[in-house]
Every structure is written in structure tokens, then in C-alpha cells.
């Protein structure tokens, strides 16, 4: 579907300029690390500011040079850039900038002032970008490892927290196994086809069911499922979401999701485009299980981060359902869903960060009790976010689910669509519980949230985006349609 041409069009401004997002990020990461070492001590917020500058510059440079409407292959076919890559990378920049904005105060208050934090976030983003533009199994692996290793370190960033260390170890051990699994699967694919190039793979992998091919794809799918946190490879998700500092959870839940999306898009829908029957079946099973386990598991949670972790598992199920259709409208639906989910989840975790203070982690769902009396504005925004995630109009989450269901029905999967809407009714319950605590319960002794006007403004803009994209979704929908032709 991505156009299987081996060579792209003519390069407009030299190959390097098309890779400007990655280049600018890599340079920025190195520079910021140096600046932090030499000037960072004593100057609070310097690295954070520099990071924001770097992201802004990255957006500007990418907008100027990095966007194409054609498909180009760079670096001997290892690297591909197309309109989808441009869209996802711009999204990555914006999402990370928002995440950094939300995290600043939180990190400051907890004494996590190390500039490495931002550098690791930048390298993780670089990993995501490499994944987005990967056109070879090697590039895929390179991007994935860059992303994962940065994330492991970030999860353990709060050195004194036992629970964070535990989460990081779990994440690392399971992640390492997943990487091994991926490499094993890739080696089988290489053994069968003799190529690492995804374009060539998509042309070669066309033969009918072949045991070795099936096993190879199964390994690759397992590694992808791990990255998505899809059942039965979801064990790390609740622990990491809960154990990691909230700002890192925010990053994993949002920015990193773009990476997972790119991973499945390049590896399966492009690389394995010749044998969709094999992997769509697997994805379907993963999706059904994720929807069930995620939605049922979330009901039992009392910790909001853990609840959102299970919700992430359930939402991964929705994205996988989109891919499981094996057709373009399904991939578009998955992209729309991912974008809507990232926008909404950014604000949801931003809200948790907003409500946390020094010495107080706003982690229990019960901490939301009476928020409507303590702070009507924040409560109204959280209400919008929860209903959006539950898929109720007039918020963007509704359109995301609508497209997935439409793609499923278009592919003839009536029962799968019915199943998906029914479990989302179960899912509605735990989002409603947050609203219930905020609106129906008395605040008790819980304090009024801090003012923080700047953060409030960004949260407000973010929530306004969730609502506006819900009222007038056409722009988002048509962009997503355009970038996946």
C-alpha cells in the first residue's frame, strides 16, 4: 500500500535535507547534553528551555525542508520519507513539546533536575523518527532499540524510588526478551527471502502459507504486540505506568505511541503486505484479548495511572483492530485513532501532573473527589477528556472509534465491530467513575489545586483541541486519509 517502487522520485534538495528531523534532533541532543554539563548547574530550567527551542527549530526545519508529498528512498534504501512520515514527525515534535511543558514543574518539584532527562526524551524521539522512516529491518531495529533504551533509563530516572526501579527492571528484562524475539523473527524472514529491505520483502513475501514464514511473522508480531502492550504481552504496562515518574508515563503513553504505530505500519502493512492473511489473523486475536483484558482490568483499579495503563491496553486493542482489517481504510482508522488518543492522553496525564504538588503524587482515582467544587474549570476539562476517551461525542475520541468500527464493517467484520462497541460500553464505566468522583462526591479535606496559570492555559488549549476536533473533525480526518493513500 505504501507504493512498492524500489526507487523514489528525484531528490529535491539533497538527501540530507530530507532527513532533517533526525539530524536536527541528534545535533540538539548532543548540544544540550554539553550545555547542561557546562552551564546547567545552578541555572534551573536551562535544559528545558533549550529543549523547547530545539523542538521549535526542528518543527521549523522539518516544515521547510523535511516535508514531501512523494516517496523518497535515502541512504541506499535504508531510510524512507513520505507524507505519512512528515505528518507523524510533526506530530512527534508537537506531542513531545507538550509533554515537556507539562513535565517541567513536576520534575522541578521532585528534584529531578538532571538535564539528561530531556536528552533522553530527545533520543527517544529520535528513535521514534528512525522507526517512522525505517525501510529496512536493520533501521527498524535501530530505531526501536534507541527508543527502548532511552525509555528504560527514563523509567528509572527517579533514582531513589524503589517502585520506579522495579518498573524499570521489569520493563528492561521484558523489553530485552521482546527485542530478542524480534531479531529472531527478522532472521527467519531474512533466511527465507535473503533481504533486509522492506520494499523487497513486500515483493518477495507473497507465497502461500509456509510454516517458516508463519513462524517468522509470528515472532515479529509478538515483538510488536509487546511494544503496543497488547495482551498477552501486556504484563509490563500497568507496572511501568504506575512505577515510572508521571512525566515519563506521560511520554510513554503518548509520544512513544507514535513509534508503535510506525513500527506496525512499516513492518507489517508495508513489509509483509504480500501475506496479510497471516498477520491480520494474529492481530485480530491480540486485539480481541486486549479489549477484553484492558477494559475489565481497568475496572478494578484504584490508581489512576494504573487505570490509564489498562485503558491504554484496551485502546491498543482498537488500533490493532484497525490494522487487522488489512485494508487502507483500516490503516487510516488506526492512524486517526492513534492521533486522537495521543491528543487526549497528553491532556489526561497533564491533568494528573497539574494536580500533583511537591510532596504529593496525585495518583489515586479517589484524589479526584470533589474536584468540581474545588476547581470547576479543571473538573470540566477532565470531564471532557474522560468522555473523549470513552468515545462519546462531541469529543475527538468518538470519531476515532467511529472510524475503526466503520473500517471493520467495511471489511465485513460485523461481529468484531459489535464486540468492539460492546466492550467499549464496559470501558465507559471506569471513565465515568472519574467523573463521578469529581462531580458527585464531596471534596473532604482535599486542597484546592494550585493556580499555575501557564500550565492551565496549555491544558485548556489541549482540551479545546479535543473538543474542537470533535465538533469539526473533518480536517484531521482528511489529513489522515491523505497521508495513507
Amino acid at each position: 500500500m505504501m507504493g512498492a517502487a524500489l526507487s523514489g522520485g528525484m531528490l529535491p534538495s539533497g538527501p540530507l535535507m530530507l532527513a532533517i528531523p533526525e539530524i536536527s534532533l541528534a545535533c540538539a541532543a548532543c548540544l544540550i547534553l554539553l550545555c547542561d554539563v557546562y552551564f546547567g548547574a545552578g541555572r534551573r530550567g536551562l535544559t528545558a528551555t533549550l529543549t523547547m527551542v530545539a523542538l521549535t527549530v526542528g518543527v521549523a526545519l522539518t516544515g521547510q525542508y523535511g516535508l514531501t508529498t512523494q516517496r523518497f528512498l535515502l541512504f541506499n534504501g535504508l531510510y524512507v520519507t513520505d507524507s505519512l512520515a512528515g505528518f507523524l514527525k510533526m506530530g512527534g515534535f508537537v506531542a513531545m513539546a507538550t509533554a515537556v511543558f507539562y513535565s517541567q514543574d513536576y520534575l522541578e518539584q521532585r528534584g529531578m533536575r538532571g538535564g539528561e532527562y530531556y536528552v533522553l526524551c530527545l533520543t527517544a524521539l529520535l528513535g521514534i523518527f528512525v522507526l517512522i522512516s525505517a525501510n529496512s529491518l536493520l533501521t527498524v531495529y535501530l530505531g526501536l532499540e534507541l527508543l527502548s533504551l532511552s525509555l528504560y533509563a527514563l523509567v528509572a530516572f527517579d533514582r531513589d524510588s524503589g517502585i520506579a526501579a522495579e518498573a524499570a527492571i521489569k520493563y528492561f528484562v521484558l523489553g530485552a526478551i521482546a527485542s530478542g524475539v524480534l531479531l529472531y523473527g527478522m532472521s527467519m524472514l531474512y533466511g527465507l527471502t535473503g533481504t533486509l529491505d522492506l520494499d523487497q520483502l513486500s515483493n518477495t513475501v507473497r507465497r502461500g502459507p509456509d510454516a517458516a514464514l508463519m513462524i517468522g511473522i509470528a515472532f515479529v508480531v509478538a515483538a510488536i504486540a509487546f511494544k503496543f502492550g497488547a495482551v498477552p504481552f501486556h504484563m509490563w504496562v500497568p507496572d511501568v505506568y504506575q512505577g515510572a515518574p508521571t512525566s515519563v508515563t506521560l511520554y510513554i503513553a503518548t509520544v512513544s505511541n507514535l513509534g508503535s504505530f510506525a513500527l506496525i505500519l512499516r513492518l507489517l502493512t508495508h513489509g509483509m503486505a504480500g501475506a496479510p492473511a497471516i498477520w491480520t489473523q494474529m492481530l485480530m486475536a491480540l486485539a480481541v484479548l486486549s479489549l477484553l483484558v484492558g477494559n475489565l482490568g481497568a475496572i478494578a483499579q484504584t490508581n489512576i495511572k494504573r487505570m490509564l495503563a489498562y485503558s491504554a491496553i484496551a485502546n491498543a486493542g482498537f488500533v490493532l483492530l484497525g490494522f487487522a482489517t488489512g485494508n487502507t481504510s483500516g490503516y487510516q482508522a488506526a492512524l486517526i485513532f492513534t492521533v486522537a488518543y495521543v491528543i487526549t492522553t497528553l491532556a489526561s496525564f497533564g491533568m494528573i501532573l497539574m494536580l500533583s504538588r511537591s510532596g504529593f503524587e496525585h495518583e489515586e482515582i479517589a484524589d479526584f473527589k470533589g474536584l468540581a467544587t474545588r476547581d470547576p474549570l479543571l473538573a470540566a476539562m477532565m470531564l471532557a477528556l474522560m468522555f473523549s476517551t470513552a468515545g462519546v461525542p462531541p469529543f475527538v475520541g468518538f470519531w476515532a472509534k467511529l472510524w475503526i468500527i466503520q473500517a471493520l464493517l467495511g471489511g465485513g467484520h460485523v461481529w468484531l465491530a459489535t464486540f468492539a462497541v460492546l466492550v467499549s460500553v464496559i470501558g465507559a464505566f471506569y471513565y465515568l467513575r472519574v467523573v463521578w468522583y469529581m462531580y458527585f462526591d464531596a471534596p473532604g479535606e482535599r486542597p484546592v489545586p494550585e493556580a499555575r496559570p501557564r500550565m492551565r492555559l496549555i491544558l485548556l488549549l489541549n482540551t479545546a483541541a479535543v473538543t474542537l476536533l470533535g465538533l469539526l473533525p473533518n480536517t484531521l480526518l482528511s489529513i489522515c486519509q491523505r497521508v495513507i493513500p
Binding site: V392, V414, V421
Partner: protein
Amino acid sequence: MQQLGLLSVVIWLPIAGGLVTLGFGDQRARAARWAALVSSLLTLAACVPLYAGFADGTAKFQFIERLAWIPALRSQYYLGVDGISLPLILLTAFMTVPVIIAGWSEIDKRPAQYYAAFLIMEGLMIGVFSALDSLLFYFFWEAMLIPMFVIIGVWGGPRRVYATLKFFLYTFLGSVLMLVALIYLYLKTGDYSIAAMQQLPLTLTEQRWIFIAFLLAFAVKVPMWPVHTWLPDAHVEAPTGGSVILAAIMLKMGGYGLLRFSLPITPDASHELDWLMVALSLIAIVYIAFVALVQQDMKKLVAYSSIAHMGFVTLGAFLVFYIMAATGSAQGAVNGLDGALVQMISHGLISGALFLCIGVMYGRLHTREISAYGGVINVMPRFGAFMVLFALANSGLPGTSGFIGEFLVILASFKASFWFALLAASILVVGAAYNLWLVKRVIFGEVANPQVAKMQDLNPREFLVLGVLALAVLLLGIWPAPMLNMMEASVQHLLQQILTSKLPGAA
């Protein structure tokens, strides 16, 4: 592509008013109250040209607005009204005003949020009735759940959380299946407009499944037996205004959906399954009326009586096929449909008024137990008169609007089968029983306890609200012709749609 027009005003004006009200905040409750009242009155005023400009005698949609909304989904911002939806829109705008006034002194907990929720509800409900694009319809239909969820949960009674979660999840479950059906239809027509779906030929199997999906959504809203159990809980726990809106308007959405979607889109499945619908309606009419008889709580009694009355709506709508089979007379079928529609409007007025009456008493004595009252007429003569009027209207007394709807439906059911008519008419007896018994226990008799003796009669505000509703009930009962004329052409058109088979090859 038509420009934005009157219908958009009626939808978005209350929503904007709601946001303004919200902006005043709970600290400036007075300003918020006035902002809410002004918005609801302006909305009602905007309905006047809608009523005046509506041309009777055509089934075509009027006041059409058609703008590009989501070209990516071929869905349009497409509004319009016909004789079926206009009365419901007028009812919505009309009933919101008393709701705002009823909360004037009663609500002191987060008043701005209270009024804002009702105004936003109003806009969304009018949106449901005027949407001619099914995706837009669904958009309003679902969005409406959010303010109602908050209204019951924040301002409701002791078990409000249970009630509101039950309400939300029940209705959400019903509507997501409708969404699947709508998308399925869209994939066949390539267009979300309701008219295209109504013209689409469908096999019987498809129609059956779509009918069931629609039925789940609409039956929960109506509510039909046996999916009615959320209603008594929601009603009892909701604040007065919430009960009024629930009974007067939200239940009508189920009836409206059956008339606008189920019957015209899946006529053959409706024909095939009409025995089921008629059976469920009769069960609701007869059985639920007896359930109402034994209630101890006034709100629960009115809630169950609502379910029984809505049974007439579904009965009137689905008798069509029996009547056509038995007599072949289109007039009988039209009577049934007319009755269903009049019943919706009339029930909206009467049940809303009854809930307001209960709210008046609850505001003074803080209990809804029937046994706590007695002899209210001795201390509140004016209130007593209103209460008796509405209770009699609720039991279908000639001269009130309650009579017209029930009479038309029973008339139609005689044409279908004597036994249907007998069963349906039995509600006149049972209905009179529970209404009169309620009046006897609450209004008449000796003053039951010292607290009742201290109750104050209606204040001018309450008098105004109940007086206007009483006038409306009587007016519609004595002179229903304007409304019947308004509906006539649309009902004829609907009947044609229902009786035209959509099976491939039938046309």
C-alpha cells in the same frame, strides 16, 4: 447548500446561553439564573417564527439547512423539520422554561452548573429532533447523555450515583448498537442522510438485524418493557427539573427514533416483528399500570405511569400492519400514528407538570412518600386544584390532552383487533385508579400530620408555571386540530413509507 438558519439558532442559542451561564460561576448565582432564564425564553421566542412559518399540508422537510460538515465521511450538517419533529421541538423549548423557573429557589448547590446543564441539554435535544443526517443525529443523541449524567448525579437523591450510572450505561449500550447499524447503512448508501437510508432496499435478514439494533437503542429510551428498569431509578433520584426533562422529552426520543428510523428504514422487518412490538407495548400498558398502582413513592408512581403511557406510543406506531391486514383502511392506521404522536406531546406536558407538582410538595416537606401527605388541599387549595387537574389529565379525562392520544390509539386498535382494544382500554380503568387514588391519599382527606398543616400554598412563580402548563393541557385537549393538521401530511407520508416494501425485487 443552504445557509445557517432558524433551526441552528434554536439549537445553538441555548448551548451558548449555557456556556455563558457557566461563565458566571456559582458565586454569581443570581446572574447565572437570569442568564439561563433569558436564554431559555429567547429560544422559545425563536420557536415562534418556526411555528408560524411552518406550512401544513406538505410532508416535505422545511427550514432546511444543509452545509458541509465532514466531507471525509460524506456527512452533512443537515437540518430540517416536518410535522413529526416540529411538535417535539416546540415541546422541548416550551418545557425547558418551567424547568429553569422551577429550580429558581430550589437549587442552591452549584446553581450555574445546574442551569448550564439544562440549557445545553435543550440545544442537544432539539438537535436530535431536527437532524436529517444520521451521523449528526447520533452526535446529538449521544452528547445528550453527558449533561443528563451530571444532572442526575450531582443534584439527585441519595442513590443518585447508582441511578445515573445505570441510566448512562443502559442508554449507551443501546445506542452503540444503533451506531453499528447506521455505519452499516452508510456503507451501503455511501451517504449518512436519513432520507437515503429510508430509500435503500434491504433484504429481510439485513432489515431484521438493523431493526433489532435500532430497537435496542430506542426501546431503552422509550422505555419499553422489559428494558425500563433504569427509568424509575433515574426518576426517583433525579432533581425535579431532571425528572421533567427525562419524562417530557428524553423518552420521546425513543418514540421519535422508532418513527423516523425503525419504521421507514426497516418496514419489512417491522411488519414481520410487529407482533413483538405490540405484545411489548400491551405488557407495558397493562402490567406497568398495575405496578404503578402499588407504588409508595409519588415520583415512582408517575415514572411507572410514564412507561405505561409510552406503551400507547409504541402500540399506536406498530398497529399499522394489523390494521392494514384486518381492514385495509389507511384512516385507521393514520389514527394510530396520530395517536402515538399526540400521546407523546400530551404526555410530555402532563408528566412534566406532575413532576413539577411533586417538586412543589417535595420542596416543602422533603419527602415523596405518599403516606406522609394527606389533606394538602386544606392548606394549599390552589395547588390542589392543579394537581387534581393534571392527575385527571394523566388518566385520560376528555377535555384534556391525555384523552386525545389515548382515544386515537384505542380507536385504531379496535380496527386491528377487539382484544388489543380491550387490553389497551383497560388502562383507562387502572390509570384512573392509580391517579385518583394518588389524589385521594395526597390531596384530599384530613390533614395527615402537623408538617402538612404548615405547608404554604403556591407562590406566584409556581402558580405561573403550573398555570401555563394547565392551559396547554386543556388547549390541546379541547382544540387539537392545529397540531393534527401540522402532523397530517407527514403522517400520511410516513404511512406510505411503512407500507412500501424495501425488499429487493419488491419495488
